[in-house]
Amino acid sequence: MSRFKDLQKNLFGGTTSNARQFGMIFTLVGIVLLFQIWTNGLTLSSTNLIIMVQQYSYILILAIGMLMVIVAGHIDLSVGSIAAFVGIIVAKVMADYDLPWPLAILVGLAIGVIVGAWQGFWVAYVGVPAFIVTLAGMLLFRGGNQYIGNADTVPVPQGFRQIGAGFLPEVGPATGYNNLTLLLGLAACVAVVLRELKLRKTRTEMDAENAPMWVSAIRVGILVAAIIFVTLRFAGGRIGTSFPISGIILAVLVLAYSFITRNTAGGRHIYAVGGNARAAELSGVKLQRVNFMVMMNMSILAALAGMIFVARSAASGPQDGLSWELDAIAACFIGGAAVSGGLGTISGAIVGGLVMAVLNNGLQLKGVGSDMVQIIKGLVLLLAVALDVYNKAQGRFSIIGTLTRSFRGGGTPASPEPTQQSGREPVKTPVA
């Protein structure tokens, strides 16, 4: 039995303490397979995958920022309104002042910075709870959107739409696939292999025991297979479509923020502040600065998400971004973040977001009404967190984790990112 456990641990990099995230990956794979069968293969079809990426990339971008906010022990309810607020301003400056779209994007990001500084100031330097500051922000910026846009819809020019609705262009020889997407997939495969080698090297340097080579091979094999599958799907769609630009933006952000939260001092400080603010302060962490940066960062990502959404829907309207904050928050909690802060990973939040996205998409494909979709999503969120709370109270780790012990060598999520998390400890076991 212990061999199985070793294998599970080796294959998925994390420790048993990652049971929840680990379990969520299997849940995700399970949901994908379920819908794949139920929709007769529609779920994993090229067209649907592309639509999913375009439709949920901005929610996942928000989830990245939200994860950091939640880890630091706060919450941000204003992201949907900020996205709408930035969206309308960007649309306006392009429509009314003929500002070139690249400049308009910069304007949008700058507004994200200003809004973030505003919220960060209240949270970090005045000490108003983020819940209140962002609740106020939610009203403030929703009103701002409607005031500036006169509650009208403002269309955006073609060039700008690329960031939300664009694809990688067709270049090179006619292979029947989108060549750039193929290259991207290849790069991802190489990255996975290099990463595995680096991990092994690191463990050797630590004088730690390395998993047998064949375990590494299986792990890399599964990931590479998943990447190749996804790549071919994206590259082999209708001519003119490929891996969406918004997906690339998302992938870059996920990689960058995973690195920041896991491998840099600044990222470490966010976890320290959320885990025990006073202890962090007494270790020389600048509490106010961390809180400020986290809130600011969230607003910038919200600005970006807002622009991508506007680009995709070709116009900015007064109802943009409604209840996005809730989707982003749900993604984080499903992905293993703790309500009390200090715990959670970017990849976990992404997996959590993907669970919601696949669920949403699959139910829509089946023609389930939005009423039922909401009910199901609500129950999923509740169950995912309740299960974890229950298991924490019992002092053992999650049922999902236990169940999945029998699924050796299952699959990985349909995302080009390797989903390994640093070993954080979500379960506080009572020890005598």
Partner: protein, 506 residues
């Protein structure tokens, strides 16, 4: 309690433990941390309900099966945990009757509650307005409120888990007197404590646990039981000395604080440091003695980058040069380290693993351009794990899983990692068992031998006298004495700790 066995996933916390407590006696339970004392008491008080352990509990001649704490309280068994279970924002009366409110027609009868509260408070010797909020009274009085609360439930067997750990000498003494009084009234007490002198003074019998097993039960009334005897039972061997050998090598003064004024963070009238002056020499271990609330922690934390209170004035000199420490980061950069008194609340992030905790105060040492080198981090932590003998299989272990002594070693490592010149250790051995204390003393002495200055704040006078080269006494925010090792004895220190005479500035 007969052959109690309790298992946690992967750990056998208690195996076949027997405990016999006679009615009306004070029974002490001793053992190192992790010996299973608290677990045993949780079994007895129904925190771990019947069915989650093996063995049986016989109480007043009958086998009992408690399903929860309420059931045991109903039978008159009340446990007072180390961490007090009081609501800070509620009054004494409200706390005493929390969950047990006297009612009339469904509404709480506050008149009756207050009357009864006054009566109960008188029984535990607490003279306060029952409307006073818990957060406005000291830890000693809070402890008394807890006991009053137990009386409100008509207690017959009172279990106290480390009741005096957070109390100063006076409050401890008062509590012990109180327990003696209870005995005369026929109330049985079980007390867990690390303070062996107290146990020796008060207990009628002592049960010693080690590694989850009953080692022996000593009858104190029969005589022949002293601290050494208890220690031998606890550690399973003779302990030659409480302090490791150490020859001080004291150099010149390198750290000096002059005319230090700090006020309370909230109330503008309360001064917590009133023109304090002190200095530390290289290789010197300096003690800060004082009663609870004397302002030792406040002084230390305000020096450590103004992390407590409002700074009003004062100068800090290091190596003859005046330095400004406006933030904790400044203090760390100037070679100061502060190991806090409450490691769980403010010393550690309990979600972290050992290696993350150990490097947390100086991440720059294991990172380049802000990117952490996990190999360096691992090696640094691994080095401390070995040299400080932290009992954990790897540095990936979560700090919550460690015992108090090992957690304290992790915190020490965290600050040793910052390469400090001056370490301020606030109650470094609180809640730590005898064996680990000895190791911690050794670490402190080694640090001094490396030429670092060490300040030790402690409420245990024997510890200060045994460890320090020089002891400052603090009373009400003032430094009232500067006593060299040769003159340090408990009477002398106590006198200075309670005197208002201010020590003249050097």
């Amino acid at each position: 309690m007969r052959s109690i066995t309790k298992e946690f996933p992967g750990v056998k916390a208690l195996s076949d433990v027997n405990l016999v407590v006679k009615a009306g006696e004070i029974h002490a339970i001793c053992g190192e941390n992790g010996a299973g004392k608290s677990t045993l008491m949780k079994v007895l008080s129904g925190v771990y309900p019947h069915g989650t352990y093996d063995g049986s509990i016989v109480y007043q001649g009958q086998e009992v099966r408690f399903s929860d704490i309420r059931a045991s309280e109903h039978a008159g068994i009340v446990i007072i945990h180390q961490e007090l279970a009081l609501v800070p924002g509620m009054s004494i009366t409200e706390n005493i009757f929390l969950g047990n409110e006297p009612r009339r027609n469904g509404a709480i009868d506050w008149k009756a509650a207050n009357r009864q509260a006054l009566d109960l408070m008188a029984r535990v010797g607490l003279s306060e307005d029952p409307d006073t909020l818990i957060k406005d009274i000291g830890v000693g009085k809070q402890q008394l409120v807890e006991i009053a609360k137990a009386f409100a439930k008509d207690v017959k067997l009172l279990i106290l888990d480390e009741p005096t750990a957070a109390l100063n000498e006076n409050d401890s003494q008062h509590l012990l007197d109180l327990l003696r009084g209870f005995k005369e009234r026929g109330i049985t007490s079980i007390m867990i404590s690390h303070k062996l002198n107290e146990i020796e003074a008060i207990a009628d019998s002592i049960t010693i646990l080690r590694d989850g097993k009953t080692i022996e039960t000593l009858d104190v009334t029969a005589g022949g039981v002293d601290e050494d005897r208890i220690v031998r039972g606890m550690v399973g061997r003779e302990l030659e000395s409480r302090f490791p050998d150490h020859t001080p090598k004291i150099g010149e003064t390198f750290f000096e604080v002059k005319n230090w004024w700090v006020r309370h963070p909230i109330s503008a009238e309360r001064m917590v440091c009133k023109g304090s002056n002190f200095h530390v020499r290289r290789g010197e271990i300096v003690g800060f003695a004082g009663l609870m609330g004397a302002g030792r922690t406040e002084l230390a934390m305000s020096v450590f980058g103004r992390s407590y209170g409002v700074f009003l004035g004062g100068e800090i000199y290091k190596d003859g040069k005046r330095i400004e420490l406006k933030s904790v980061a400044d203090a760390i950069d100037h070679g100061l380290a502060y190991v806090s008194e409450d490691r769980k609340a403010i010393g550690l992030n309990l979600l972290d693993d050992i290696k993350t905790s150990m490097v947390a105060a100086k991440l720059s040492k294991v990172s380049t351009n802000g990117v952490i080198d996990s190999v360096k981090e691992y090696k640094a932590a691994e080095g401390y794990r070995k040299s400080l003998r932290v009992k954990a299989p790897t540095v990936d272990e979560g700090v919550t899983k460690l015992s108090g002594g090992n957690q304290q070693k992790v915190v020490l490592a965290k600050w040793m990692f910052t390469d400090p010149d001056l370490l301020i250790l606030d109650e470094p051995t609180r809640g730590i068992d005898v064996g680990a204390k000895y190791e911690i003393y050794g670490i402190i002495q080694r640090l001094a031998e490396q030429g670092k200055g060490v300040i030790v704040i402690s409420s245990e006078l024997p510890e200060l006298i045994g460890l320090c080269d020089r002891i400052y006494t603090v009373f009400e925010g003032q430094i009232t004495g500067d006593i060299p090792r040769s003159e340090a004895d408990p009477e002398n220190l106590m006198k200075q700790m309670t005197s208002t005479k201010k020590l003249a500035a050097r």
